[in-house]
């Protein structure tokens, strides 16, 4: 062990430490006890965060017509603790509310430690004349402020279901997604919901230093921590506003829907569901009441029938079987089956109407022969060389699915039903394994039985036929941000499992339907219209009238499906409406005012 020469330095070190400690004590005493400068500042300077809500994107149609835009609206807010005694009666007179309502609102909020220091909504979306009146005298009501915010406005009052609406975000969403705070608006249905993140943009934050009178003392850190708000992007829909408006007009006082698609792009040109409502009803100050009324309406105007209603496709399904029959080697253009007022096999009878017999493939579509498709269906399941009925059925079903049936499109609408192409397992369960035969399921041949389709699926069927074998997923948003930045992810091309050559006889049959078949009233002067009628049996009342079509026959521009509920035979209502729609789109105007008036004025609603 070494000799310690410097042990006296321990004292020096200790003294230095104690001196520094003492300096701290003195300093603490001076700023905490003697000086009251910092106590005052603590109450006077603070940072307030101001959230800047960016403006929500505008929604336009394919030609730039505005469908949804922002409109200024004014809410009256109050911070309870900042309210001084005021003339309650005067304020309530301006607002048009009961004084007791206001005082109760303030009393409740004032007793909650959190709510009393935060802005409280007193009256939302005040009428313009009240806002200007209130602005004059607002200085008499300290603690009250007029808050400007944007609400949605729908200039054409159309396409309510497609566009959807926005509303205050619910508590659950604010917990899941930290972007939202209570009071924010969020898309609740339609495009407003499915494109919420594109439309909303992103919030900005401004940090401000405020004194105790809440007066602005300039930006915190010179604004270095501020975040700019980024405006939402505009959306260009695939809809054609003129066509949409026209379709809604034709469908007034009827229940049903119209879906029109541009075959080459899958762009939905019109998506009409009826009855509909004015979307402005769900934006204004009486929104809650309006919503309740719509919800209680027995005709269900809130339901989007174009995507959510599932109908048996009826005779329009014969197109599907004509295609699959060829692909499975059962049918060819020369295949003939006889019809003696229907299909008879054992105890089973499927009726048919009066027409020449026997018919070939093209004629079977033209005359919509039930017997033809019963035979074809039986042969597909029994004679196409598969070891079991089940195996043959599975192949049939696979082809049906490739035609976009029985599945939900992977598109940009937030809802939609799958329809139904029953699986063989379903029949196994229903009848027992191996205990069902072709005849058991024969009703699917004419689109009855368990088969269900939605209007958008039927329109897509017309589109893929007109394309001779492929379709682009039907979608609603054409471009995001600017009219030329196309919404590529939506433009997925699906090739069906049917060979293109098999479409020609079917298309010829559909042409003959309009020329000399069941839907002569669908013809448009100057355009080769192809179509197919259908009647969906409805156990609850008159049958539903269906029609699918496209035009022109070569180089098609529009494919369409029309369903009119409870209107009987397909050719009566659905075919002329589809025809008017196509004429409107192809010609820009309709030259058959008499048909137009008859369709428009017809009332098929239950009284």
């Amino acid at each position: 062990m070494k000799k310690d020469l410097h042990s006296s330095r321990k004292r020096v070190i200790t003294i230095v430490f104690i001196v520094i400690w003492a300096a701290f004590v003195v300093r603490l005493f001076s700023i905490q006890v003697l000086n009251d400068k910092y106590k005052k500042s603590s109450a006077t300077i603070s940072i307030r965060q101001e959230i800047i809500i960016p403006s929500r994107g505008t929604i336009l149609d394919r030609n730039g017509v505005v469908l949804v835009q922002n409109q200024k609206s004014y809410d009256l807010m109050a911070i309870p603790v900042e309210i001084k005694p005021f003339d309650t009666l005067m304020l309530c007179n301006i607002l048009g509310i009961e004084p007791s309502v206001l005082s109760e609102m303030l009393r409740q909020a004032g007793s909650d430690p959190y709510r009393k220091v935060n802005p409280l909504l007193i009256e939302k979306q005040m009428l313009p004349e009240r806002v200007s009146m209130l602005q004059e005298v607002l200085f008499r009501f300290p603690g009250f402020t007029i808050q400007e915010r944007a609400i949605r406005n729908y200039p054409g009052g159309m396409a309510a279901h497609t566009l959807g609406y926005i509303g205050e975000v619910d508590l659950k969403k604010t917990l899941e997604d930290s972007y939202y705070i209570s009071g924010d608006y969020i898309g609740i249905s339609g495009i407003e919901k499915s494109y919420e993140e594109v439309l909303r943009g992103s919030k900005g934050v401004k940090k401000l230093l405020k004194d105790k009178f809440n007066r602005n003392q300039g930006p915190y850190l010179g604004g270095r921590e501020d975040v700019e708000a980024i405006s939402g992007k505009d959306l260009y829909l695939t809809l054609d506003a003129r066509l949409q408006e026209y379709g809604e007009m034709l469908m007034q006082n009827k229940i049903g829907s119209i879906v029109a698609i541009e075959p080459s792009t899958g762009e939905i040109l019109a998506l009409v569901t009826s009855p509909t409502y004015d979307p402005n009803l769900l934006s204004g100050r009486t929104r809650a009441q309006n919503y309740q009324n719509l919800l209680e309406d027995r005709n269900k105007p809130l339901m989007n029938r174009a995507l959510q209603a599932q109908y048996p496709p009826g005779s329009t399904f014969k197109i599907v079987n004509a295609l699959i029959g060829q692909e499975m080697g059962i049918l060819n253009p020369g295949t003939k089956y006889g019809c003696s007022a229907g299909f008879h096999m054992g105890s089973l009878t499927v009726g048919c109407h009066n027409h020449p017999s026997p018919l070939n493939l093209t004629q079977s579509i033209q005359h919509s022969c039930n017997a033809y498709y019963c035979w074809a269906q039986r042969d597909m399941l029994e004679k196409s060389g598969y070891p079991t009925i089940k195996a043959a059925y599975d192949v049939w079903r696979k082809h049906a699915l490739s035609l976009g049936l029985g599945l939900r499109f992977d598109n940009d609408l937030p809802y939609g039903y799958k329809g139904n192409i029953p699986s063989s397992d379903y029949y196994d369960k229903l009848h027992g394994k191996g205990r069902w035969k072709a005849l058991t399921v024969i009703s699917i041949s004419i689109g009855q039985g368990e088969v269900l389709t939605t209007p958008v699926q039927l329109a897509n069927l017309a589109a893929l036929v007109s394309n001779r074998g492929y379709y682009i997923t039907p979608h609603m948003v054409r471009a995001i941000g600017s009219a030329d930045s196309l919404n590529k992810p939506m433009m997925k091309r699906h090739q069906t499992s049917i060979h293109p050559q098999y479409f020609e006889p079917v298309i010829q049959g559909m042409r003959d339907v309009v020329l000399a078949g069941t839907a002569r009233n669908a013809a448009i002067e100057g355009f080769a219209v192809c179509g197919k009628t259908g009647t969906a049996q409805n156990p609850h009342g008159p049958n539903h009238s269906l029609f699918i079509a496209f035009a022109p026959m070569e180089n098609p521009k529009i494919a369409i499906a029309v369903i009119v509920e409870n209107s009987g035979y397909g050719a009566t209502w659905a075919a002329p409406i589809a025809s008017l729609m196509m004429e409107k789109y192809l010609n820009g105007e309709v030259k058959r005012p008499d048909v137009e008036t008859r369709m428009k004025n017809c009332n098929l609603m239950r009284p």
Partner: protein, 428 residues
Amino acid sequence: MEKRISRGKGLFYNIDWTMVLLWLALVVAGWLNIYSSGNKEGVSEILDFSHRYGKQLLWIGFAVLLALLVLMVDPKVIPPLSFMIYLLTILLLVAVLVIGKEVNNSKSWFQIGGFALQPSEFAKMAISLALARAMSSLTFDIRSRNSQLLIIGIIGLPMALILMQPDMGSAIVLLSLVVMLYRFGMNQVLVATALFILLLALLSFIVSKIILAIILAFMAGIIIFFLRGKTKEIILVSSVAIIAIGFVFAVDFIYHKGLKPHQKQRIEVYVSNLKGVDKDIRDVGYNFYQSKVAIGSGGFFGKGYLQGTQTKMNFIPEQDTDFIFCTVGEEWGFLGSLVVISLYLLLIIRIINRAELQRSQYSKVYGYAVASIIFFHFMINVGMTIGLAPVIGIPLPFLSYGGSSLWAFTLLLFVFIRQDMHRLEVIG
């Protein structure tokens, strides 16, 4: 070779409970304040690991385990391992430069899963151990050039590596070891000169450089007047005066030409604060000012536990790490602050007193190193929050949030406590 450590006499035989209890008091005070500054919505679950107070509880648990582990180690095995630990730390400091995670433009952290470790925190102990080992060797003489170079090397190498991260705060902390070196014979003149230079640099900001130059020249004149005839001394004093005046102007030059605007502003804020003026409180001086506001608003008795407003509204960044003392000051007032800073003084004085009792030079040197480091952290951190020290981001030992810092300081202290249990033996 004695084996009495773990046999019969128990884990805590001969342990200095004063140090242990002071450590415990600080750790508990730290957690209470972390809980308060993290608790903005009222009372909530303590063991909520999504919150920092919940995590800190976990870190404290590990720290206690670490302390117990140290108490189980035979103190005789540590001195021979000193250089090994030191080398390992150097390797870690090199590694962090390569594979470390970049946070705020500096590579100081290892990210292992959800868990971050800061090797520079542990470097303090490794350097202390290495210095203790070097300075307890029989051939060591602090006056010899070789020994001096050895010390400079032991401190300088890790310091350079830490500066490369760059982590200015952790590097500056290593300068605190001068206190320990002073105790063991470092040249007094050297220490005095260093302090003189520091004082001069500070004064050159507060007083105008011309006046400062005149004062220096005047003082030199008086000394020379009394030294009449002693040529050698006169030359010495004159040259010191000239160098000092030159230094004042050099500082001014570096300040105006060499520093970036925000660095300049920071110095201005600090210096004007010393003169009693709060500058740039909306900008560069914001933290500096807000921390004084928080502490100052506490008054004599404080606003009460969990009742602070300044420390809860995000007025102060790093509320539970570098600025944890603001919460103490605001909620516990002058009384609470006095208690906390007194706990530090008591702990440090206790360490020094126990260090003096060590028979082994190794333990003695190590004890002083521990005291110096803890005191320096305390001085800079608390000084910063009350406006006496410039803003240097280093944690307050045992109080600040964070696993690395808590474990590093606990290890640092408990290695000494372990050695102190055997102070009558020469263990190094």
